[in-house]
Symmetry: C2
Subunit: 411 residues, 2 copies
């Protein structure tokens, strides 16, 4: 008798974004004449940079000729041309040395942040911020690393670190014993960033407690403040305790192209139950070479094009469009009397819901009242209740229209 | 203290193909003047079909324009245009009805066959053929569904079904209680196929015992015999008990493009420990929507192009090249006195090693003696010892040269 993994039955309702999708589809079906504008799911709207498109077309042509055809990406961790571009463009340029065999190219940071927990034991205590990107939590629930959810949606055994306006959305070092800590800066959903001092605190904590930090830097390209680190490896000693996730989804509009990478340093150590130190890098390599088969050659050529001078200029122009959206949203919502956070070093605007309405209630009011879609803060965790996430990824004209609609919203 | 998943430490040596890669690289470094020909790892050599290349270039152009840009594939299970092409081209055309929401597009059958076990409980007993595609076994080892390996590389708790010349490489229904059965037809590595009667036996067995069959049909495009089923769903009742994996890797040369799909029928039932029936389809959907983010739009357009009349003709011409290789290999090796199997309805030729040498010994003799690379049967399991796998995916001129070298081989 085939038994299902009953941990899946612990999961509360649907994954956040499909749930939003369902509500929006239902509204559109009932109101086919209304134009719904989404500042919600976090998908980008600007097309790919011309350098990226050209690289994909050239790579497609290569794949059509026997002399230049590419089959399996040997080892499945990424072509050397891309890993070299990453090594130089994302790390050496900021004074950080990362080895080519520490870089694992993949088809998305969602996959990587979701899959990485597999290489760790089931008995680890994980710590997450609250609110948090749901993938970190849900994948640990599926793996059986948590208890059941309580009425607020908090799972047993997970250590939640509340991040609210009261603590400037900055997680406090946990007092409990924790083994694996998920951090995301610039933060999704709050738009908060971490200074070097903030990150140093975490690196020191992990070194002292032999914990490992899973650092999600998917939004580093949106940092505007020169003093904010883009990589956790800018902090001394971080290679011993941190894995870093990067993505081209928001950096270069690759949500529909699928490319990302993860850095697992050779210095990183995990432990067996009886305390023996074990290198983590070869274990992740084994996981990837067994369960993954690399990223499309065409996609890897596209990603490499991002690092060319042309590519860099083009993606920066696109990011500037989004950051201008963020600025406009923050300014105009503040003028309407809303309390807003983020939006300066991040593409996310985290707002307080007005008059204390719940975040799903605000979602429904926005959708039904003025046909706007955002993301309910409660979807990111119990401490997200009373907040609402907007993203800066809309088309500028839609953002303008959305703000005009906000002005008309009656709560 | 971060604990690693100690199940990874149970894994024997490296994953087969990286290990072969390491030996070949070492040989080439020491013998830079020698031309090594590979009939080994199973990568294809013919370029992509022109219809596929054109589709990718057109899709790349779409991604470069704001009006036709595509972001996230909503839901991550594949664009409807591709799922409709699959529904019609792979199933309705053979008299099988599969719903669109039963098709999950992915980036590879290796990923799917590796990830699927996650949705099943840790206490299931799995059954595999021996020899077997190593991914089925290794991913269950990683998940903790097995004991340690014995001296032959067989893991505790797994039920192995030996497939050797003595039983025509046809697995016998296990006498032990098993919950999940992996089957692959046309078989990798033996090249064996299953008749309708063979598959019916398995479907009946699964229905009686409430087991689930994971059916890998990655090589169905190589079936030449009209009486052999391409899908397990051609067998009545299979939808209640079987998941099917398909891939474009060998069908259309997508090893470097990455696209596949999995069918999880709505009728398929798993069980909780206390015997409650649970639908499997929504659980896989939840797994995919949480840990995966869909396949590149460009790649999905490429896959859809395979189903056009042009695309069909072009990929059939490519498959004919490979099947002609297979025929030549079988014929000439037989003429040299080797005993060969497969190669008729499959791109794999499974040969007995001569004079009882071990399969890794034969690997080294072929590499060092005549600079040929194949795959040692023992890499696929204990019952693969004494066998050796060749693939038909080489360039015809390389296959010719490889056979000339075989004639010179002294064992």
């Amino acid at each position: 008798m085939a038994l299902i993994n009953e941990n899946f039955l612990k999961l509360k309702a649907g994954y956040l974004f499909p749930e939003i999708g369902r509500r929006v589809r239902a509204y559109k079906q009932q109101n086919p004449d209304k134009k719904v504008i989404s500042l919600g799911i976090g998908d980008v709207t600007q097309p790919l940079a011309p350098a990226v498109v050209e690289a994909m077309k050239a790579a497609s042509d290569e794949m059509g000729k026997i002399e230049t055809f590419h089959g399996y990406d040997d080892g499945g961790t990424g072509y050397e041309f891309l890993r070299k571009a990453i090594q130089h463009g994302d790390f050496q340029s900021r004074g950080v040395e990362i080895g080519l065999d520490e870089i694992f190219v993949s088809d998305g940071a969602k996959c990587d942040t979701g899959n990485l927990q597999e290489i760790f034991g089931i008995d680890n205590v994980i710590a997450v911020t609250d609110p948090v990107y749901p993938v970190y939590v849900d994948t640990n629930v599926m793996a059986g690393r948590t208890g059941d959810a309580d009425e607020k949606g908090r799972y047993g055994k997970i250590v939640y670190m509340p991040c609210t306006a009261e603590n400037n959305f900055t997680p406090v070092l946990p007092k409990e014993k924790v083994d694996i800590v998920y951090l995301c800066f610039p933060n999704n959903p709050t738009g908060t960033v971490a200074t070097k001092e903030d990150l140093k605190k975490w690196v020191d904590f992990a070194r002292e407690t032999k914990a490992i930090i899973l650092f999600d830097a998917a939004y580093e390209a949106f940092i505007t403040d020169a003093s904010i680190p883009h990589s956790i490896y800018e902090i001394e000693g971080a290679k011993e305790v941190a894995i870093e996730f990067r993505s081209y989804s928001k950096t270069a509009g690759f949500t529909g192209v699928r490319c990302a990478y993860t850095v697992v340093p050779k210095e990183l150590i995990g432990y067996t139950k009886d305390g023996k130190a074990v290198d983590v890098n070869p274990i992740w390599n084994r996981r990837q070479s067994t369960k993954f088969n690399g990223v499309s050659y065409i996609t890897q050529r596209a990603a490499a094009a991002i690092y060319t001078p042309q590519g860099q200029k083009q993606i920066k122009d696109i990011i500037a469009i989004y950051m201008n959206n963020a600025k406009t949203i923050c300014k105009e919502l503040a003028a309407l009397g809303y309390t807003v956070y983020g939006g300066v070093n991040a593409p996310y605007i985290w707002m307080k819901t007005p008059k204390g309405v719940s975040s799903w209630e605000f979602f429904d009011k926005l959708l039904n009242g003025v046909q706007l879609v955002g993301t309910p803060g409660a979807g990111f965790g119990a401490s997200g209740e009373g907040y609402f996430r907007l993203t800066a990824f809309g088309k500028p004209e839609d953002v303008k229209e959305a703000l005009a609609r906000f002005a008309k919203l009656k709560v």
